[in-house]
Structures are given as C-alpha cells and as structure tokens.
Symmetry: D2
Subunit: 117 residues, 4 copies
C-alpha cells in the first residue's frame, strides 16, 4: 500500500476519524505534541529491558511486530493530526529537513559515525 | 507535495540518506524507538510553558512554525527509518489502527469527549 | 516523612528492592534512562487532554492524586536507581545545578518570565 | 551529602529558586509533567546511539558523567517542583509504591527476570 497511498490520503483518513467524533476541540498543537510524546514512549516500552540484539531479531516474531506496528501507527496518526491542524505539508517538511541534514552531516566526515568526537 | 508523494517515496529518501552515511549499523529498532522519543520531546519543547491558547495562534507565527516543521519532520524521519528497518507498511498499519479505533471509540459514545468517565 | 527521610535512605530502599530480585543486570544506565522516559510519559498521560486549569484543580481530587503520586513515585524510583548504579550524589547534583541556574537565570532579568524573547 | 539532606530540604531549595523568580505561575501540574518528560528525554539523549556496554563503562568518563549528573538533576528538580505544587510527600509515595511493587513482583516468581513470558 505504501506505493500508492499519498500523505494527503493518510491525512484525510485521520482528519475524518477526528471530525466524526467532534474531537477537533482537543487538537490544539500543544496537546498533540504531548500525545506524540506519550505514544513514542509506548513504542519505546515494547523494547524496554530487551537488548539491542534481541530487538533486532524481532522482525520474525509476530507478537512483537504486532505491538510495534500498532504503537508506530499511533505515533504517525498524531503526527498527521498535527500536520492537519497546523496545515503543514509533511512531504515538503521531510525533504527540506533531509536537505538541511545533508549539509550538517557531510558524507565524507560522518561516514560510519553518528558523531564527531 | 503531500498530494503526490507516497509513503514509499519518503521511505526511499530516508533510506538513501542513511545508507549513504553507512549509518544502518546504528538503526536497530530499540535505538530508533529512543530516537523517536527524543525528537518527540524536542517537538514538545517548542510548546513548553506556552498556554494551549498561545500555541493555537502560532499557525501565523513563522518563527514558531519553522521550528515546529523541523521537529515534526525529525519525528517522521525516524518513524520512517523504523518502518524501513522492520519492513512495516506504514499506510496499512495506519489504516488498520484507525479501523481498530473505530471499534474502540464508537461515534455515538465518544462524540465530543475523549474519555468516558 | 519528607522531613526525616534522607536521599541516602531512599536510595537504599530502592537498591534493596532491585538486588532482592536479582534485577541489577537490567540496570545499565542506558536502559534506566529509557525507563525514566517511559515513566515520565505515563505521568504526562494522566494530564492528557485535560486543560491546565483542570489539572490545577486536581489537588482536591483523590482519584487523580492517587494516579499522580504513583507515576511520580515511579519516575523517582528509576532516577534513584540510576544514581545508585552510577554512584551519583543526588543532593549535591541538585544543589550544583541550582547554583548553575542561579547564574543562567538572574532574578532581575527573568523575574516573572521563563524566557527572554 | 545524600546522607544528610532530607527530601524536605531539597524541596525547599527548589521552591525558593522558583518563587524568587516569580515562576510559580508557570508551574501548573500539566506543564510540570511536560517539563519532566522533556528533561527525561535530554537525559536519554546522552546515551543516544551508544551501546548498553559503552554506557556501562561511563562511570569512569568524567565528561559523560558531568552531562548525566546535570540532566538527572534537572529531572529531579522538576519532580520536586511537582511535589511542591501538589503537596505530595515524596518519601511516602516512594515507599508506598515499593510496597505495591513487592506484591506485584514476588521475589520467587521474578527472581532474575523482569517479565514473565
């Protein structure tokens, strides 16, 4: 599906869900930022006390993948809600941030390392 | 742009950025979940100590919107990286979560309220 | 009790709980930092979708206060565990940070405002 | 110092810092919960992209320990502020939560494992 669905489509699905329930009144940007934080922590909780090695092997563990997909979806849903409320073009914002990062992290300096230290 | 860019396209841009820098070794799912949490908190920080009313008016304040767009893009970028690493179809995960929420939050019970109490 | 209990006492209670269960192996500092984040988000979740005004009135709502006390205790417990593992003197760290903040936020400039803008 | 300083003393230092700057108006519990989350994420950021093994060795790396002490102090300071504002006895809340956890995680079942699975 990721090959066909545009961000615009996904924003529309999320907006419809919210407006049908008359929940737009809850969706001020500050509360949405809180919601994104809360869902991000629930995603992190799936990995709590696991080692990085264990986590890497979960691609083949359906029970873990089910939880991860749901929690990741929640983060996306609230991010799309914030984009809806603030009329942010997500694709443009992502491409601009990647361009900025291209300059900040030149390949020749950062190849194979996340930080210069 | 959001009308044209598919999630697949955005995933590809993000993957290219990462592989060009040989950063895939950092991208185990646990560390990506941490990164999503950290970026979500940086987004929340833009709203720190502001009232919900103030935050709602920022749609017309370019300096605030610039920061919000960047921090929101960072959350999306790491979420797309997690989807890349775990081969998650984001559009499908979002639609399935919305369907589940349709059942969990029936319109007639939750119209106008986020919680039953 | 807060007048009598020293941080040293509280650290000891937390350490005993952990060692009795042979959980020290989980307590590397990175995983404890994750745990603090996760518990902090659970504390934030108590306030989700409430207005700041509503939250301010909860001091007199036992059901809300019960949840807040528990979640706040969880954040403290993991912070004390990190201090145990890294042998940090918490009281000293707090007083040094307050001294640093005294310099960073001089009273005459920051009286009544959290930020200069 | 941790052997002498009571939680009551630390709460007083934090309260004095806040009232001197007339910042109590910012300290509604919801915004303090946000602040705790934000500082917890800054603490986590110190460990970002490091392995658990690397993090475990930092007890002897002064530059890392300096950052950790400061970020951990920030989490404690906002937690103490929340306790001040909501008049929570922190020592009591911690001991009650540990008692509850004693029941939830009996030693014979949870010895050496954080989860039953």
């Amino acid at each position: 599906m990721d090959s066909e669905a545009s961000i615009h489509d996904l924003k529309t699905y999320v907006r419809d869900f919210v407006t049908k329930r008359n929940w737009l009144k809850y969706h001020n940007p500050k509360d949405l930022a809180e919601a994104i934080c809360i869902e991000a922590a629930e995603l992190l909780q799936v990995f709590q006390w696991a080692t990085a090695e264990e986590a890497s092997s979960w691609k083949n563990v359906p029970s873990k993948m089910g939880r991860i997909r749901e929690e990741l979806a929640d983060v996306f849903i609230y991010c799309l809600s914030m984009a809806n409320v603030l009329e942010i073009d997500v694709s443009e914002a992502i491409l601009q941030k990647l361009s900025k990062n291209e300059v900040k992290y030149p390949v020749n300096k950062y190849f194979g390392r996340a930080r210069l230290e």
